[in-house]
Amino acid sequence: MSVGRVHKVIGTETEFGITVRGDPDFNPVLASTQVINAYAGSRPRVRWSFDDECPGRDARGFEYRGDTPFDADSGLVNTVLTNGARLYVDHAHPEYSGPEGFDPLEAALYDKAGEVILARAAAAAGPLLPEGRRIQVYKNNSDGKGNSYGAHENYLVARALPFAALVQHLPGFLVSRQIYTGSGKVGSENGRPRIGFQVSQRADFFEEVVGLETTMKRPIVNTRDEPHADAGAHRRLHVIIGDATLSETQTFLKLGSLSMLLAALEDGALPAPVALADPVQSVWRVSHDPSLRRAIPLADGGTITALDLQWRYLGWVGDHARGEGADPVHRRVLDTWEQVLADLERDPSSTADRLDWTAKLALLEGFRQRDHLEWESPKLKALDLQFHDVSPDRGLYHHLVRARRMVRLFDDAEVERAVAEPPARTRAYFRGRCVERFGSQVVSANWDSLVFDVGEATLKRVPMMNPLRGSEDLVAGVIDASGSAAELVKALGGDHG
């Protein structure tokens, strides 16, 4: 059944780990606040508006009520950046929610820009701290002691696609994609069997197949139904099972493969869903097998390895995309996907130049052999953590990149532009440029609107319900021609681009 495809606008959100060296009793909320405030500096502060947010709305058709597990106060320390991103304190973590990307390559670029921003923010907070202390920020998902924090992906999906179809198709895909989305982890957590090293940071924490939660009983398919767009036409698929990824290739492949699967699903181009016999057990079983040889049980009584399952998805998605005439970015997704699967199949370590988990494993194995270390060694756990330090000086990912042991997709100039400037082809352009040009007059923002104080009795709200409008070609002229927010709002008139 084809429901009509919608353009796959993509955005990522990352909660960063944080620690204060020299202060074992550090307060993570305070440290996160210092990081965000240091980056925001003297720039105008834009509040986040929660008017249109409804994290308790469930895609299965009901509204969560009662004691809400959702923290509506998380916008207390908040800023909106000129690149269209939101940077704020969420619970006890600094969080970067990237701007809406037009395609997986752009979304991956802005995800990388977020790391640079957090690295600079942490460095800027340094002078605020007492002598001998330093804030360190990590792009990972676990402290190794049973606490996990998320890296979420968001994909625009047609409302007409029944949520039940996503629930049927996604578990098999999300369980098996770990072989190229994992960031690797020393040890296990949350009551899972002991193991030296596993593929994913997050796998140990998934306990349900479908659900609304994100902080407890985490589900493989999250049902939050908060489109941040015209709810009649769109859903926002909120994926919480992925690892935060440092490798640019890996982030691109993670976002590209799922967005293309969703497009195929909307076009009715997938065969009957591959049903796993036990999706929750399969999440950690795939992750606990760095050899990638373990087969997982299917509902029909057969078994399949994660690799073979991914070959199937690549076959279906590739046939569909080529039939549709894929553009260069999406052809690149298919080529990367195929090459990574082929290399993983031949020898997982041959992907250590492109995937975080195999890069980390190669490094850990190097130390294990040279220093005769057991997996329980604190040095290996320290290496695991430090792999994810966003500081270019300390972060081991950065050392591997500089040593040309890991490849990049983006050059420094592209990342630098993405730190400062918004994507051109989505509404993030309007948000970012307005913050840049009229920041002191932007009272509040959220994903689908901006509110201006133009010096009149009432505030002016500009809705942006279509994620593809507010793009450079539609609004650059009027933004550039306006000398103030008042002129901009007047020029936009009834049509908000």
């Binding site: 006890a92 402290d143 199937r312 041959s350 320290a382 290496l383 042991r405």
Partner: protein
């Protein structure tokens, strides 16, 4: 079923020259064994002092 998958896979890969794949594989293998000790030494020089203490103090509140 598995056999079918392998057929599909080969068909998919047919656009790619065998030679190109070989070169990539070799380059990657060389990449990984080459200079491994150099990078370990470099990392030793930046690794957090007192690993045990660092790991113990890295405690996060849950999020999301």
């Amino acid at each position: 079923m598995v056999e079918q998958e392998r057929v599909r896979r080969r068909t998919q890969r047919s656009g790619r020259s065998e030679e190109a794949e070989e070169t990539t594989a070799e380059a990657v293998g060389e990449h990984l064994t080459d200079r491994i000790d150099d990078i370990l030494d470099e990392i030793d020089s930046v690794l957090e002092e007192n690993a045990e203490d660092f790991v113990r103090n890295y405690v996060q509140k849950g999020g999301e």
